[in-house]
Each structure stands twice: as C-alpha cells, then as structure tokens.
Amino acid sequence: MSAIIEINGLTKQYGDFTALDHLELNIEEGAVFGFIGPNGAGKTTTMRILTTLLKPTEGEARIGGYSVSEDPNEVRRLIGYMPDFFGVYDDMRVWEYLDFFAACYDIPEAVRKGMIGDLLDLVDLGSKHDEMVESLSRGMKQRLCLARTLAHDPKVLILDEPASGLDPRARIEMRELLRELQNMGKTIFFSSHILSEVADICTDIGIMEAGKLVAYGDIEQMRQQLQVSRLIQVRMIGDTVPLKDLLMVHDKVDSITDGREIELTPDIVRFDFTGDDEELSQLLLRLIENKIQIISFSEEVGDLEDVFMQATQGVIN
C-alpha cells in the first residue's frame, strides 16, 4: 500500500516557540493512525497543518499526493476534519445541519435527501432526523459532527480527540464507528490522550512530546524500538529452583519473580526478557533440554501505557 499522508520535516514556530519540530511521518492508505501525546505536544498543530488551516514554517505535508501548502483546495476535497470541539449549530435540526454542509460541498439537492438518511443511519442517529441539534447529548453531537465530515465522501478523516469528554458508552460507540469507517476503506488519523482507546483500534501509533515524534509504528514495533522488556510467565510441574537457576545465568533475563511473591500459585515463575523472538525460542528449547517440566510458556503483552511511559519523559512544551 502507498502512503496517503506524507509528512517531511514539518516545523511550526510561533516566534521563539517551536510547536512542531521537524516531524517525519508516513501513513498508509486504509490505516487507522493514533496520534498520542500530552497537551501541548503538537498534535493539534500537526492536524491543523494537514487540514490546510495553518501554514507550516518549514517542511512539507502531502495528502493523496497534493501539497497542503500549494494545493489546499485539492487537499480539502480529500479530507474530512472534526475539530476538538465539534462545531455544530444548535439552532438547526439534525437533518438541516447535514443538508447545509452538503450544500456547501456543492452536493445537489436531489442527492442530499437520501445521503442524509444514510449518514444518520451510519452514525446511529436515524431516529433523531428532525430533532433540534441542541437537544442531542454530547456523544450524539460528536457522532453528528462525524457524519458531517463524511458528507463529501472524503478518503482521509482527521479527527481531533474524537472521544474526548464522552461517557464510557459513547466512547465504545465512537470506537465501533471508527472501526466501521475503517472497513469502508477510510484512512483515519486521530489524536487522543486515552491510550486504551488508541491501542484497541489503531493499526499504527505515533507518540508526540514537546513538538517531536518520539515513537512511531505499531505497538510491537514501538516496544522493540524502545526496548521495552517482555514479561514472560512460565508454569511448571515440580520445584521451581532449577528453572530459576537456569534463568539467572541467562544474560537477557532480568527480575525473576516467584509466583508466591506476586500472589499467584507457587508453580509460576515470571521474568523480564530483553531478547527477540529467536532468543526467546532458544531459551525455551534450553529449558526443555534441561528437563524442566513446562506446562505453559507465555508472554504477558505489555500495554500501551508501558510504551508511552517509556517513550515520553514528561516534557511539556
């Protein structure tokens, strides 16, 4: 697959303050890219540049091959943008809101009626067709705003904190909606500070801090990039001492813990492993050769929070 979003050396300065510092990023078509980082990390600045709303000081960004600085109109046709506060018109009815923006994108009146029904069904607001926007809940307004971004059928969706301020149920609904949009072939670029949200639905992740991209890739790649240790759990029959003795002499093994110490059963041993898959496989083979009676040998997958904490240093721009 080819990159639909290409960012090369993107920099944004406000006087002496560098909001974005030589950002390099490529996002493939159909990807769901989670852009995470603390407030002031440069996420919104990046999104505003990608949406042509802000001019970069240096560097270039392209969407679908079009430069955001030189061909803003072409870029605008390709993208749908949802800002962090969604910008709905409380004085309109739900259908009027979509009708107005569809008209702004030159969609003929005859097409609009059917399209509005489809969009409302997609975001599960079909029953709210004639309601006033101001009567909708925050989650519903968020989904309505997302429906608006889809009105001109864009290839790329740029969503700034789409789950921000939503209750757990609305958050789950939003996540399901993003999955559905991914299945429709949309490329989704969204920012979030809710790490579990990102881990659940993203194909790729970028971590920003103080205007710089500190980690980028899928979670597995990032863990390798950041050399986050892997937590391995072994369950066995018999005395665990021979196992611990063997592990202690291995140079990639660290922090060996007995099951009793961590309120698990005594037949369990846990340890941190800093090697790759090949080395882990060799270790398992060695344990079996040494007649350790293994029942299970598994890796406890570290969550995104480990990666995030490892990648960032708490620097605030």
Partner: protein, 290 residues
C-alpha cells in the same frame, strides 16, 4: 465582479444567514423583539426634530408646522428607515464570523471549497438582506429625490433670478442648475444605503478582528456613533463654509451631501480592502484562530 456576486447569491452561507437553515443570529432575533419600541423611539425623534426645529427656524405656527411636516414626510420616513438600518445592521453582521469562531464551526466552513472572501461576503449580503426595509427605502428614496431635485432646481432658478436683480448671488445658468439638482438628488438617494451598508461593514470587520460577539457589537456601535458624529460635523462645517463662500445654497447643500457620501464610499472601500487582506491571510493559513 458580477460573477463573484452571482456565486455569492447562490452560496448556501448566504441562505443560511437569511434563516433558511435554522436561526443563525440570536442577537438579531432578540433585537427584533424590540423592533416596535425602536420604531416608536426613532419615529418620535425624527418627527420631533423635524417639526419643532423647522417651525422655530421658519417662524411658522402650528398649522404651518403640520403642513411642513407633511411636505417633509418622505424625509422623515427615510430618517426612520436609515436609523433602523444603522441600529440593526451591526446586530446582523457583527456576530456573523465571531460566533462561528466561538462555536468552532469557522474552521469547518473554511474547509469547504469556498474561499474565505466568498464566505465573508455571503455572510454580509445574506445577513443584510434580512433587513426588510430595502424596498421601502428604495421607493421613499426615489420620492424624496424628486422632491429634493425639484427643490434644488427651484432654488437654483431663484438664485439666477436674484442675481439678475442685482443681489450678491453668483450667476448660475441652466446647466449649472441641472448639475446641482442631479448632484443633490443622487447624493440624497445614495446616502441611507451607504450609511446602512457602512454600519454593516463596520460590524463585519470587527467580527473578523475581535474574539467575542459582545466586543464586536459594542465596538461597532461605538465606531459608528463616533464616526457619524465626526464626519457629519466636518461635512456640515464644509457645507456652511461653502454657503458663505459661494452664497449659493443649493450648490453648498449638494456638495455637502456628495462629500458625505464620498467619505462613506472611501471608508467602505478601505474596510473592504482590510477584509480582503484578512481573508487572503486566512486562506494562506497565516492566521491562527484558536
């Protein structure tokens, strides 16, 4: 230019400002609830000023005052309509952009395929078209222009007569009389339109430069009040100066009216140029609205 205006006339934002999709302007809706009160105050002031001052000035009695009031009726109606326009136009245009910024929908509008200038002009014309005074203003302006035109011609003719009788009035020929009549008439017709348009333009400009609707509204009314007072004083002074200089009343009045209109045209052009510059900067992504 014509194509641009045609595009604006078919722009959804133009129709949104007119109220096709929802009620875009809560301030205007509130102000409209007080319209009868505004109408009574403005009408009262216009009648009081028109009748009282002129009866005093001309030294005519009450019956003469009423007759004069009837003759001046088109002028009073124009004054009322102009004041209504001046009061309501900023209420329509000042919130138009700043409200979008407050609500977070300005960026969404900017991402539609329309250039910022087209959005701004659509908002301006769309919102001003909600003023239901334009047709009435056109009809009364034409009637008033005829009255003024005839009056000026008569004054011009009188001036010629007095000159030939040996008074100090300057010599005027027929063409000069016609010229002054045309000048005064066109200036009279144009003035309410220019004043209301200018008031709307001030509102729109501040809407793009301020970050709160209240600031845009207060700023607009303050600017219009100060500007009107200063400009009217200067132009009145020029008019009186001309009257003494040329001793030809109609010429002085015509020139005064024309000058006043010219000031509004130039001021409007300057504001429009500023708006255009701002719109281009927004299109280039040079401005950050957060």
């Amino acid at each position: 230019m014509w194509n641009f205006l045609r595009k604006v006339r078919s722009n959804p934002i133009y129709y949104r400002e007119q109220g096709r999709w929802g009620e875009p302007n809560a301030y205007f809706a509130t102000l409209m609830r007080y319209l009868p009160l505004i109408l009574i105050v403005v009408l009262g002031l216009s009648v009081f000023c028109g009748s009282y001052q002129l009866t005093q000035f001309l030294g005519i009695g009450e019956a003469g005052g009423i007759l004069f009031l009837l003759l001046c009726l088109p002028n009073i109606v124009i004054q009322v309509l102009t004041w209504i326009g001046i009061i309501l136009a900023p209420a329509l245009t000042a919130p138009s952009v700043v409200e979008e910024m407050d609500r977070g929908s300005w960026d969404i509008l900017r991402l539609t395929p329309m250039p910022t200038m087209e959005i701004i002009v659509s908002k301006f014309l769309g919102s001003l078209s909600r003023l239901r005074i334009w047709w009435a203003l056109l009809v009364v302006s034409v009637i008033y222009a005829i009255v003024v035109g005839l009056g000026t011609s008569a004054l011009g003719a009188a001036a010629s007569f007095f000159t030939s009788s040996g008074t100090d009035f300057q010599q005027t020929d027929g063409w000069q009389t016609v010229g002054v009549a045309v000048l005064t008439t066109t200036s009279t017709v144009m003035r309410p339109w220019l004043e209301i348009g200018f008031a709307g333009l001030v509102g729109l400009t501040l809407s793009l430069w301020t970050n709160s609707t209240r600031a845009a509204l207060i700023g607009s009314y303050a600017t219009i009040f100060v500007y009107r007072t200063i400009i009217n004083t200067i132009v009145s002074a020029i008019t009186i100066g001309l009257m003494f200089q040329f001793e030809y009343y109609a010429f002085a009045v015509g020139t005064g009216m024309f000058s006043l209109n010219l000031v509004y045209v130039i001021s409007g052009a300057v504001l429009f140029a500023l708006l255009r510059r701002r719109a281009l900067a927004i299109d280039r992504g040079d401005l950050l609205h957060d």
